[in-house]
Symmetry: C2
Subunit: 365 residues, 2 copies
């Protein structure tokens, strides 16, 4: 694609002016327009007050955010719940399974604390059995006691993808729940075609929104199994029915309770900036930059952790925290992973070849 829209996008993301920002796997770059949407919405609420007109703005901002997230995922808006984070979505959907002591969940050994937290609660506070195997072997680990599979779609450690075909088969019989923290906005997802019961994502990573937003896609096919454990006003189809109120039949039954109008507007603004580039181009360039980096590193004799075509890449380095600090001193932002021999590089559509060169200059010095 022409470099003009990409340069325009870079100009909208102030962190890129001085920094080779390669850390969207933690938090993406915030655009001026995103910060402005949050600030303007809050100022308007301060001046006008937050009466009925505010709630009209809120409802329309939620609809706009839901549509933007649905498009980024390749899904129907009716199947997308608005959450505050990936882990919030995972907590909601795992609670909705209503697992009993002795039920088993299969997961992988390399999951993020955002999934391990909810699983630790199930294991240590609810008596559910949790079994962890390598991500590549996860489908084979499913046994007769397995009530659900919960794992990364894209590993936060090295950018490996889950065995989608094998899990599609598993998903015919038991619910498969994907932690899509490194999937949503990073790669083409199309959750319906994955055959999963639920797919959770983050708003502040590859979708460049503020911290405090996320999404939970839920499959209509698993609606009978995924019964929300806690409900709030917005989850109810007819809240006026009080204790007799039933949840919405669609994904709104899983919406978080208090996403402000201004947060939703900021999240939608951020997502739409990427949609304007075109999602296919976003996904192709993001992973393409990581592929290019991998090739350059391998040619230079560096060891790259096994990965798939995703915008994450982990380089083996003897002292990752020290390397991260050296890179930071040179204005290159990546992260190290506790207890692992890697620094992890996240390449977004907004990154330039020069950003990669700045990384390589320090890494190979």
């Amino acid at each position: 694609m022409s470099s003009e829209p990409l340069q325009d996008l870079r100009n909208r993301l102030p962190v890129l002016a001085q920094t080779a920002y390669l850390n969207a796997g933690t938090c993406g770059p915030l655009a001026w327009a995103t910060a402005d949407a949050l600030a303007d919405g809050t100022s308007r609420a301060a001046v006008v007050g937050r009466g009925p007109a505010y709630f009209e703005v809120l409802v329309s901002a939620h609809a706009r955010l839901r549509a933007a997230y649905a498009e980024a995922l390749g899904a129907e808006p009716a199947d997308v719940a608005l959450t505050t984070s990936t882990t919030d979505g995972l907590g909601r959907v795992l609670a909705a399974l209503r697992l009993q002591p002795g039920d088993e969940v299969v997961t992988s050994t390399d999951e993020h604390p955002g999934l391990l937290g909810p699983l630790a609660a199930l294991r240590n506070l609810s008596g559910v059995t949790v079994r962890a195997v390598a991500l590549a072997d996860i489908a084979d680990a499913v046994g007769p006691a397995t009530r659900a599979v919960a794992c990364s779609h894209v590993s936060w450690v090295n950018g490996e993808r889950a065995p989608e075909d094998a899990l599609r088969e598993v998903g015919r019989d038991i619910p498969v729940i994907y932690d899509g923290a490194q999937g949503a906005g990073a790669i083409a997802v199309d959750p319906a075609s994955l055959g999963c019961a639920a797919y959770t994502g983050a708003g502040q990573k590859w979708l460049c929104g503020p911290v405090g937003l996320g999404m939970l896609w839920v499959s209509p096919a698993w609606a009978d199994t995924l019964r929300p454990f806690a409900l709030s006003y917005g989850n109810l189809a007819e809240p006026a029915r009080g204790l007799d109120a039933e949840p919405w039949p669609d994904a709104r039954r899983f919406d978080a309770s208090a996403i402000s109008a201004e947060m939703a507007s900021a999240g939608a603004t951020a997502t739409e900036l990427l949609a304007d580039i075109g999602w296919e181009q976003v996904f192709a360039r993001s992973a393409g930059l990581a592929d290019l980096l991998e090739q350059t590193l391998r040619e230079g004799g560096y060891e790259v952790a096994p990965r798939d075509r995703t915008p994450l890449l982990s380089v083996v380095t003897p002292d990752p925290p020290a390397m991260r600090a050296r890179l930071a001193d040179a204005g290159v932002v990546v992260r190290d992973l506790p207890g692992r021999p890697y620094i992890r590089v996240s390449t977004g559509v907004w990154n330039s070849e020069q950003d990669l060169q700045r990384l390589l200059d320090v890494l190979t010095a």
Copy 2:
């Protein structure tokens, strides 16, 4: 107290410049400083990026918000969890009770959808029995099957207070959970002295913060009973232990997963503006204005719903939506309550006698 600090506070709340804003029971007035904290924090995150330094800011903003909320409640910070809303806190604590089909929760007939939602989920999706009686009779309704009481501390309908002494007795044997949406920041709470197991509050009402913040006070005495149902990274004492990780022993085990640095900073800024006035003065003036309004209305022959000394007051009026609209046209913001013969007036420390006069001018015209 001198009117100077009050005029200074009013000057900081732009909605008061033109509007007699009497709707803090829905959302309080936002200060310029609160909007600025959110905007400045977001701009800084946009320019500097959200790497390790951002998370240091986040941790310190959370500590500041927790301390501010604790002071507003009259509680220890270690017993206060940060949530995204009252209903979020109610959902967390009701889930933590791990009620089984046939267990009974006693509530009142006049609860807000923020509590009715979680209770409807327990009743209709989890098979828990929910019994509703008048708020004044709630302690007497406790029977042998009752596993918990959940009700308003201050009724959102009319400003009545729960029977605190009777519920303190109930709380010796079974967990009492207060919906403090109209309590926190509105009246002196001191949850430990209430003898409750948990007290939930909102950040965007009487504490004048952005939508998306709240608090959940949990009693150390009920720690064995209140076991969180879902955990995220921040709830874990040692997240590096993975599936063996245990929750924090203090209220952090109930923290919501994704409150941004800038949201926490905005919420703390808002709460501290009130703390600077002094909480005793805040509570005395807020309820005092409602008392003054009640006296004036009764002297004028108007009917006021039964209430206690709180900053909420509901006036009987033949057509509440029409009256609300007439008031709005005159720049007076109150709310009507679906299906009830009231308009509800919320008087905050920031309101002036002239705000009340503007209300009376329309109401008694």
